[in-house]
């Protein structure tokens, strides 16, 4: 009896992780093509402020996270236009200001017991059926939007000005992409936590790069690598009793290391 209950939460954890891995493949690929990894990390940090405000105002977490991510992205775009501070400096300021802000706001949310550790590093074994609905509904919506704007996004990745001259609605496409990243952060938080989300976006994509010949095959392969990392991480967590979120990230990193060996072999031939 006890064993079957354990099975069920493992199944929920696997399903949750798989849902996040599938949407993370293409989004993470775009993030590294656009050299926006730290941009993604900054949005993830800002997500903690979104969570904290959601708790304070008793709103759905996903709404709070997406609204705060949009505000932070718009602020960074506004400051970026001033050309005074570099992108890296701005990201450093916003990432940590929002992280600190989130923790301070959480301290106001008295009466609510908040597991900061779970927010930062994930609590995949506590994924509920309700969480799974959010993950799959959000993931499906995200994939649908991504499919609609994929051609435009690719044009912007290749050369933004060229895309604009040729009629691509670059500003709209980039805004939607940012919202999609915020959406994935919101649904992936429970799986790997705010501080590790970017690794789930970036490491599978970087692994897939070694084998892909087209943008689409890289995006798809990244999803498959993500699925493998989730399975491997949860398996290791079950066997060795390590935290599942970091286990998933290390499993992805292991696969990335293997992919590097293939690259070195190719270069030697």
């Amino acid at each position: 009896m006890k064993f079957s209950r354990m099975d069920e939460f493992l199944v929920r954890a696997l399903l949750g992780g798989f849902g996040v891995a599938i949407i993370s493949g293409p989004l993470g690929s775009i993030l590294i093509w656009r050299r926006m990894v730290f941009y993604g990390a900054t949005l993830a940090h800002a997500a903690l402020l979104g969570v904290a405000l959601s708790i304070l105002f008793r709103a759905p977490t996903i709404i709070g996270v997406i609204i705060i991510c949009i505000i932070v992205a718009l602020l960074m775009a506004a400051f970026g236009r001033q050309n005074k501070l570099s992108q890296g400096t701005l990201l450093g300021i916003f990432a940590h200001a929002t992280l600190a802000g989130g923790i301070v706001v959480l301290s106001f949310a008295s009466g609510v017991r908040v597991d900061l550790n779970a927010l930062l590093f994930g609590d995949i074994l506590a994924v509920s059926w309700n969480d799974l609905i959010w993950i799959y509904a959000g993931g499906a919506l995200g994939l649908g939007v991504l499919a609609m704007i994929w051609r435009h996004l690719l044009a912007v990745v290749i050369h933004e000005d060229m895309a604009r001259v040729e009629g691509t609605p670059a500003a709209l496409v980039q805004f939607l992409f940012m919202v999609l990243v915020a959406l994935v952060i919101a649904i992936a938080m429970k799986i790997v936590g705010i501080l590790l989300i970017v690794s789930l976006l970036v490491i599978p994509a970087a692994t897939a790069r070694q084998f892909a010949r087209t943008p689409e095959s890289m995006a798809g392969l990244a999803s498959i690598v993500g699925l493998g990392a989730v399975a491997g991480g949860i398996w290791a967590s079950y066997l060795a009793d390590i935290p599942a979120g970091p286990g998933i990230v290390l499993a992805a990193t292991f696969m990335f290391g293997i992919s590097l060996l293939f690259t070195i072999r190719q270069h030697n031939h």
Partner: protein, 263 residues
């Protein structure tokens, strides 16, 4: 629309970037079947004028407009795609429209048929310019805009490249606007030269422009092919940084060679 209509019109346009006046009351038109070359020193506002012409930025004052509905082919000066994006020449070109046969045809026209299966990150600067030109051609542009198309192309290749632009113009009837530093090639392959140094110093047919005192002041007498000294009313000079300084406080420092373009 009839053949003589200007595809692109910039009139009395001024642009400031970060409080610095980059373009001052600039005029520029490109008509069908016309090759217009933009020349000028580094930092003279050439790329800003091209961005203005393309509609990527708006003028602070004045007008920058294109005939509605025209297709623009743009070959940017810098083209750097991250190594992590798996993209071959064939895919880059097919994204601009056209099937495999049309892609191959466009690449053959620019002498880059052999690059079709290559990843774009491995291409040299000159090879990249060629495939970007092929990509622009696939769109059947009414107006082709090239920002330093021959930079990074070897000397033999440059003559060929400008010859190619002439052929494209003859075949398609498109207007071409290009930025160049290669003055000799520009003079040979261009219908109209616009010499820019934040304002339009002079504009007109190549042989007229090369005899213009402002052109000689900017590029030195050795660059003037047909050096002829002749009297010329002038309301400004250039200081050491190339800034136009009005001699008599005159507002209008723009001097068009069209006024004395009779030889």
């Amino acid at each position: 629309m009839h053949d003589s209509s200007a595809l692109l019109t910039v009139r009395a346009a001024s642009v400031s970037v970060g409080g610095f006046s980059v373009l001052q009351k600039v005029d520029l038109t490109v008509e069908r079947s016309e090759i217009v070359s933009l020349i000028g020193p580094n930092g003279s506002g050439k790329t800003t004028l091209v961005r203005l012409a393309l509609g990527l930025i708006d003028p602070d004052q004045g007008i920058a407009s294109r005939v509605p509905g025209i297709v623009i082919g743009y070959v940017p000066q810098l083209f750097s795609v991250d190594e992590t994006l798996p993209l071959t020449t064939a895919r880059l070109l097919s994204m601009a429209g056209g099937d495999r046969a049309q892609v191959e045809e466009a690449l053959a026209e620019v002498g880059a048929a052999h690059l079709i299966r290559r990843p774009i990150q491995g291409l040299s600067v000159g090879e990249t310019k060629r495939i970007l030109l092929a990509r622009a051609l696939l769109r059947s542009p009414d107006l082709l805009v090239l920002d330093e198309p021959a930079a990074g192309v070897d000397m033999g290749g440059q003559a060929e490249f400008y010859g190619l632009l002439g052929k494209i113009r003859d075949r398609t009837g498109c207007g071409i606007l290009l930025i160049s530093h290669d003055l000799h090639f520009v003079m040979a392959a261009t219908d109209k030269v616009v010499c820019l140094n934040h304002h339009v110093c002079c504009t007109g047919a190549p042989d007229a422009v090369t005899r213009h005192p402002e052109y000689i002041a900017l590029f030195g007498p050795e660059m003037a092919t047909g050096l002829a000294v002749y009297a010329h009313e002038h309301d400004h000079h250039h200081d050491i940084s190339g800034e136009a300084v009005a001699d008599d406080g005159a507002e209008n420092v723009t001097d068009k060679s069209g006024a004395h373009n009779h030889g």
